[in-house]
């Protein structure tokens, strides 16, 4: 091919010698600065591979004299971010949980931080939208087993639910009325019917009267005579529209027969105090959060007392 090199007449430029269907290519020389720019790029590239990790070896790659690594860069970025958020985290840490909402900016930061932590620690059970599922409470609604003000939520988070070796943990123990033969299957069926009538899920029937008696004798201690529940003991309101395990008759019968013992880890020992506070702020912000009680004494339950009541109840049977 090379023998076809020739000088192109109109331009006076040499051709490269290739020809495709009569089309030839001119070998127009580049200007000098262009060539030097090209050389400069080559030198730059060599320098770059010396300074940064570049050449693949058998089991590794060259390290580069600058010692740069992508992990190191990530660490530096994470640290920079931690440094950036440190003041606000410290401020959240220094503010008592009851006073967090007095500072809207701080509260907002806490909610955002809690949202991020929630996605890591809580979504496994409560779901990414905090809507819960069967057995795991929906945190968006206005129904709270233990109370929905920010301080109570915080206490629940710190101590968890049914955690051993934690005196403050949320502990409600409903007897397994059927399994432990406290009630007969017929009585359980009656009381389930009764519960479904007080929550307006089914019309009043003959079973209601029998169920009402069973309820008054066995359930009213914790759930209240009218079935409205008692937060001090973590006893759910049975008259509302929200059912943790389900409000159909079969599920209620099952709940009364075997009882349910949900658990939640105590986050106090597992996470740092600021993160737990932020989680409380986030959960409180989801739309069902309640105002702090105006009375100074928190309505925190004494779990031991609750247990005692339960036990007494069982004992009385």
């Amino acid at each position: 091919m090379a023998e076809k090199k020739r000088i192109d007449e109109p331009t006076g430029t040499e051709t490269v010698g290739h020809e495709w269907d009569g089309i030839e290519e001119l070998d127009t020389p580049m200007p000098r600065w262009w060539l030097f720019t090209f050389y400069a790029c080559i030198i730059w590239a060599i320098g770059y591979t010396v300074i940064y990790p570049a050449w693949p070896m058998i089991s590794d790659a060259t390290k580069g004299v600058s010692g740069w690594t992508s992990r190191g860069a990530l660490d530096a970025e994470m640290k920079a971010q931690a440094d950036r958020t440190a003041p606000i985290r410290n401020a959240i840490g220094a503010t008592p949980i009851e006073q967090l909402s007095n500072d809207p900016k701080l509260l907002q930061a806490a909610v955002e931080g809690g949202k991020a932590a929630f996605k890591v620690y809580c979504v496994q059970c409560h779901g990414s939208g905090a809507a819960g599922s069967k057995g795991y409470p929906n945190l968006n609604d206005d129904d709270w087993l233990w109370g929905g003000d920010i301080a109570t939520i915080h206490t629940t988070l710190v101590n968890g639910v049914r955690q051993p070796n934690n005196d403050l943990t949320r502990m409600s123990i409903m007897p397994a009325f059927g399994r432990d033969a406290i009630l007969q299957p017929g009585e359980i069926s009656d009381v389930a019917d009764y519960v479904r009538t007080v929550s307006h899920q089914q019309p009043v029937t003959g079973a209601r009267q029998r169920g009402a008696a069973v309820f008054a004798a066995n359930c009213a201690v914790c759930h209240g005579p009218d079935g409205k529940g008692m937060r001090a003991m973590g006893a759910p309101n049975l008259t509302d529209a929200i059912w943790l395990y389900g409000g159909d008759k079969a599920t209620i019968v099952q709940t009364v027969t075997n009882s349910r013992y949900g658990v939640m880890p105590a986050w106090g020992p597992r996470l740092d105090a600021v993160t737990v506070k932020m989680l409380a702020a986030y959960v409180h912000s989801l739309g069902g959060g309640e105002a702090l009680p105006t009375a100074t004494a928190p309505i925190d339950a004494n779990p031991a007392a609750a247990e005692n009541v339960q036990e007494a109840n069982v004992a009385s049977k």
Partner: protein, 487 residues
């Protein structure tokens, strides 16, 4: 100092690169030169003065007439304020600029290159500075070939110093489009301006100095894509600077002598004036070529020569390829008007004008308040203790006026629905919510909507916003309300 004019030439047989021909354009005066002066003054004035124009927008918005406020994502241009979501206006302007160039090219050829391109304008400025210090072409060549002396060094220092000064001012003017010009200048001089400002000035200084002072015609010939695009866009009806070889050839140096000898002569006397004035150093008599930016300086130079010879002007002239053929055959030339108004230019112009009109129309009609509602998708709905269903929305109200405005958010449809905004609670739920939106900003509120009705699973309604001041204005956004299926 690497000056293009004293580039040492290398052996001829080294074909790795093309040697650069040093260009020392000669000064010339004439109709087109004056037009270039005028355009240079106008464009440079616009560039340097615009950021310093003020425009009163009240207490809540900047008073700079033209401001690209990147930090706050606003673009101000006199009475027009553009928000990021209205960026299509900027896109429209860019499309207009593009089509404008097409129009210009199909009508008058590479007029952009010859007169208005920043590369041309700044190079022209730098060339004049050079002439001011070193003298005209011949003096420059003499100086370039002269041995190094104190006076040569001084001249070089002054020239490059002036170039650098212009370059710094060029880069400096640029940054004022992006921040309040007077206070930025203050900060800049005090060393308190942001790093990016100094970096921008530094980069633009370097490019202006290199492209305008050192590279010049190399940019047009080797770096710029526009000549390639333009060559493809020009047709036989576009104006181009053309040497009329049928009139000029054969060239003669001594016309009288040639006449006496009875040798046929053309009008070109081979005085080389057209080559000497050319800023890209080419010989237009070789025919149309990519190196010609159609600055028309060779026309001015040649016209002057023709005038001295008592011949009609226009041996080198703006002429279309078609006309050139006609004229060469001795036919009369078509009037310029007919050349310019032809289907292609008219189509370009109509598209260009239509986009402009459409933008003006939509600018005049845009509302300065709007609402957008974003529904919570997880969870879609929440059942409350009493069976009521709650849906949550994030409502953004955009107040595009430079003053705070009181607005009322309302519900359209779903007559049983009530709503409240955070922080607030269910007891305060109503059909409307009032709020004040800060000037020139977007409010963001979380709003809960509740409905007692058990059905249907999916229901459409709208959030409305209405400004509660004299100017008024309203907007709405359609969303859905969800409930559990089969309740």
């Amino acid at each position: 100092m690497s000056h293009p004019n004293n580039v040492k030439e290398v052996e001829e047989d080294l074909h790795l690169y093309a040697k650069r021909k040093a260009v020392y354009p000669k000064a010339v005066d004439g109709w087109f030169r004056r037009l270039k002066w005028l355009i240079m003054v106008v464009t440079l004035t616009i560039y340097y003065v615009t950021p310093w124009l003020r425009w009163d927008r009240g207490a809540y918005a900047p008073d700079q007439a033209v401001l690209v406020d990147l930090a706050h994502r606003r673009f101000f241009m006199f009475s027009i304020e553009i928000w990021p979501h209205e960026f299509y206006y900027v896109a429209g302007l860019l499309i207009m600029a593009g089509i404008g160039l097409f129009l210009l090219t199909s009508a008058v050829g590479r007029a952009w290159c010859g007169y208005a391109c920043p590369q041309t304008v700044w190079t022209d400025l730098f060339v004049h500075v050079e002439r001011f210090i070193d003298g005209d072409r011949n003096a420059q060549i003499r100086l370039a070939n002269a041995p190094l002396s104190l006076s040569k060094i001084t001249r070089r220092l002054i020239k490059h110093g002036l170039w650098l000064m212009i370059a710094v001012m060029t880069g400096g003017a640029w940054i004022f489009y992006f921040a309040d010009a007077p206070s930025l200048l203050h900060d800049f001089v005090d060393g308190r301006a942001p790093f990016i400002a100094y970096a921008t000035v530094g980069v633009l200084t370097a490019t202006t100095y290199t492209f305008g002072g050192l590279m010049r015609e190399q940019v047009c010939i080797y770096m710029c894509p526009w000549p390639r695009i333009q060559t493809a866009m020009m047709d036989e009806k576009s104006l181009a600077v053309t040497y009329k070889d049928w009139r000029g050839e054969p060239r003669s140096r001594g016309m009288k002598k040639a006449l006496e000898e009875g040798v046929p002569t053309g009008d070109c006397i081979d005085c080389n004036q057209c080559v000497q004035v050319c800023p890209t150093g080419i010989d237009i008599r070789e025919g149309p070529q990519i190196g010609c930016i159609t600055c028309a300086l060779c026309i001015d130079a040649c016209d002057k020569v023709m005038h001295q010879l008592g011949k009609p002007r226009g041996l080198i002239d703006y002429i279309t390829l078609l006309d050139a053929e006609e004229e060469a055959m001795g036919h009369p030339r078509m009037p310029v008007r007919k050349r310019i108004f032809r289907p292609r230019t008219i189509i370009y112009f109509s598209i260009w004008g239509a986009i402009g009109l459409a933008m003006m129309f939509s600018l005049g009609n845009r509302t300065r308040i709007d609402i957008s509602a974003l529904k919570d998708r997880n969870p879609l709905f929440v059942k409350l203790s009493d069976g009521t269903v709650r849906n949550a929305f994030t409502i953004k109200v955009r107040n595009m006026e430079a003053r705070p405005r009181q607005v009322e958010i309302g519900l359209l449809g779903m007559d049983d629905a009530r709503m409240w905004a955070e922080p607030g609670d269910r007891d305060t739920a109503q059909r409307t919510i009032r709020l004040v939106v800060a000037p020139d900003s977007v409010s963001k509120d979380r709003i809960y909507v509740i409905s007692k009705a058990p059905e249907p699973a999916r229901e459409e309604f709208s959030f409305t916003v209405r400004a509660l001041d004299k100017q008024g204005g309203s907007d709405s956004d359609k969303v859905t309300f969800d409930r559990a299926e089969g309740q």
